[in-house]
Symmetry: C2
Subunit: 343 residues, 2 copies
């Protein structure tokens, strides 16, 4: 028995039910990082779309339009990475406030174009519309992954180890600095603010995990480990145990958490937008995994905990266990009952 969904996952599940079951050529439909199509070639087609809204996902008082263009593509490339794929093409739709100088739209386009070039993606179309109430930006990316290499969220098994490709909470700490105007050491500020404003899609790590079949489940961290790990657990029908002592927290995040009088683990587990990859890997592949990362010139992944039977996400520390399932960012409150009535 799985517990009922609430909030955004419940809304998505209810919408998915109204769209019905996908046909057989759709390998993965609603509910993973990308939709996966199985055309008649050697590759599966990946398809993802993400929207950024002014006042929700960004504040133009601290992100430049160039950085915003970068980020709008990056968050989509991160979804491609989270399937083990490589990006091919992008469409983007720009909702631009008519009163704002359209020169800014070109700065935004240049940011998008830079990330496209850096990661071998081509922007081939889109839409421009007026958006009186604020800027918004939707990007869709098409990618591919060789048949048999695609890594969904649903393959985690009890006993698998849980890893992340980088330090956690840097982006959330950077956002706190920006929002509160914290006075911190310039180098520290630079590192954290850059983590928030200019995240990097982990395409190389994603392809490595897929190609070498090192991951059983894979997701990118957009809403915080607590929420994104819960997605893996639900999709895989398993639980997860995070070891509080293993969570990779930099001195930078410790320092900002101290200034905010917050537990750094709170920033790390609930703060999103790290865009690192969270993945599970069989216990016996540990050595192979670290060798593969080293050979590719990537920093070693960080062990976070393990997959266990059951459900939900638990944080283990010497003080005891705490359930943190889905404690990360959630756009909506939404009653499961409501959803069922309308499905």
């Amino acid at each position: 028995m799985t517990r009922p969904l609430s909030g955004e996952p419940a809304l998505i599940a209810a919408l998915a039910r109204s769209f019905g079951s996908p046909p057989l050529d759709v390998m993965v439909g609603i509910g993973d990082d990308c939709a996966v199509l199985d055309p008649n070639g050697a590759d599966c087609l990946l398809w993802t779309m993400d929207t950024l809204v002014e006042g929700v996902h960004f504040d133009l008082s601290y992100i430049s339009l160039f950085q915003l263009g970068r980020k709008a593509l990056t968050v989509n490339l991160s979804d491609i990475a989270a399937m083990g794929g490589e990006p091919l093409y992008a469409l983007f739709s720009l909702g631009w406030p008519p009163a704002r100088d359209t020169a800014g739209a070109l700065a935004l386009g240049k940011g998008l174009a830079q990330v496209a070039r850096d990661y071998g993606t081509v922007v081939i179309g889109g839409d421009t519309v007026a958006s009186p109430q604020g800027l918004m930006l939707t990007v869709a990316v098409m990618g591919r992954v060789p048949r048999g290499e695609m890594v969904p969220r649903s393959g985690a098994r009890p006993g698998d180890r849980l890893y992340v490709t980088g330090l956690l909470g840097e982006s959330a700490a950077g956002l706190e600095i920006l929002k509160r105007g914290l006075h911190v050491d310039p180098l520290l500020k630079q590192a954290l603010v850059t983590a928030h404003l200019e995240p990097q899609p982990q395409l190389q790590a994603g392809r490595l995990l897929a190609r070498e079949r090192l991951a059983t489940a894979l997701i990118d961290i957009s809403d915080g480990v607590a929420t994104d790990l819960a997605h893996i657990c639900r999709a895989s029908g398993v639980g997860a145990r995070l070891d509080a002592a293993l969570v990779p927290i930099s001195f930078r995040v410790w320092q900002v958490a101290g200034m905010l009088d917050r537990n750094p683990l709170d920033l790390v587990l609930k703060g999103g937008e790290d865009y690192h990859l969270l993945f599970t890997s069989p216990n016996e592949k540990g050595e192979e995994l670290f060798l593969a990362f080293a050979r590719t010139g990537l920093d070693p992944p960080h062990l976070l905990g393990e997959i266990v039977p059951g459900e939900g996400v638990v944080l283990s520390s010497p003080k005891g266990d705490t359930e943190i399932t889905g404690a990360g960012y959630n756009h909506f409150r939404f009653d499961q009952e409501y959803a069922l009535n309308f499905a």
Copy 2:
């Protein structure tokens, strides 16, 4: 020599320049109804994306959420029709105001699902985000068209005839009734308001024109004939002459234009959202064209005028010629000079 672009086309052109030239496997990039990819199969892949923004594209005081869901997918299917293709899959991104009851999001999803079922499309993924300032909806559709059948905007040649698949101005007249609360005959109101709120994508006509190679250029009417015909002219390097006497205007549109003290041609040429197909066809294929439409059970297309050498769109009437190039809907004012500086 072509005249400089302004407004939305100039913004799009400037963005396109910053994205650089697409690689060889992109047959059609920015600037047609869909991007066209040429994978290694028998079909080209079509890809399009459109955004609807509250207060710009719709007003929830007169469109229901169910109708809005229908329309968001329809406008994208119309772009697939305008390449002569058939739709396969859709992604949708929903920006939902958190204060609004999420039950409405499901009504919207049901409208989208209905159109998807009606036209053989499958919704396979998307994104849900909070959008504090108003509802917005982006849909992306992937489709296919057999290699060699795809109809771009760029194939019109002097001497070609210009046709439209249905009556013009019905949607614009329906919008005027809704916006101004005009009191008109209930049946007349029903027809016009439905044309505006529940347009139909002309997929059957689009496939017919493509399969039988009856069209040299093809576009759907979203921004009004004056603007959409100007797109064909620019892409094809030709001009067009509309015969005012031939423009298909129903008694319904005449009646509403009369109440508004407006020239019905003005409603028809500048009003958008008819989502009929505007196409050019060689003079000598006239008989074949009408036979093909009749055989398929489609109403005959309406002759509107002809393609001429030169550039721009001219409206011919006994009173003389009037240039109406790009007189339809345009989201932005945008200086060409600005665009060039930023490209």
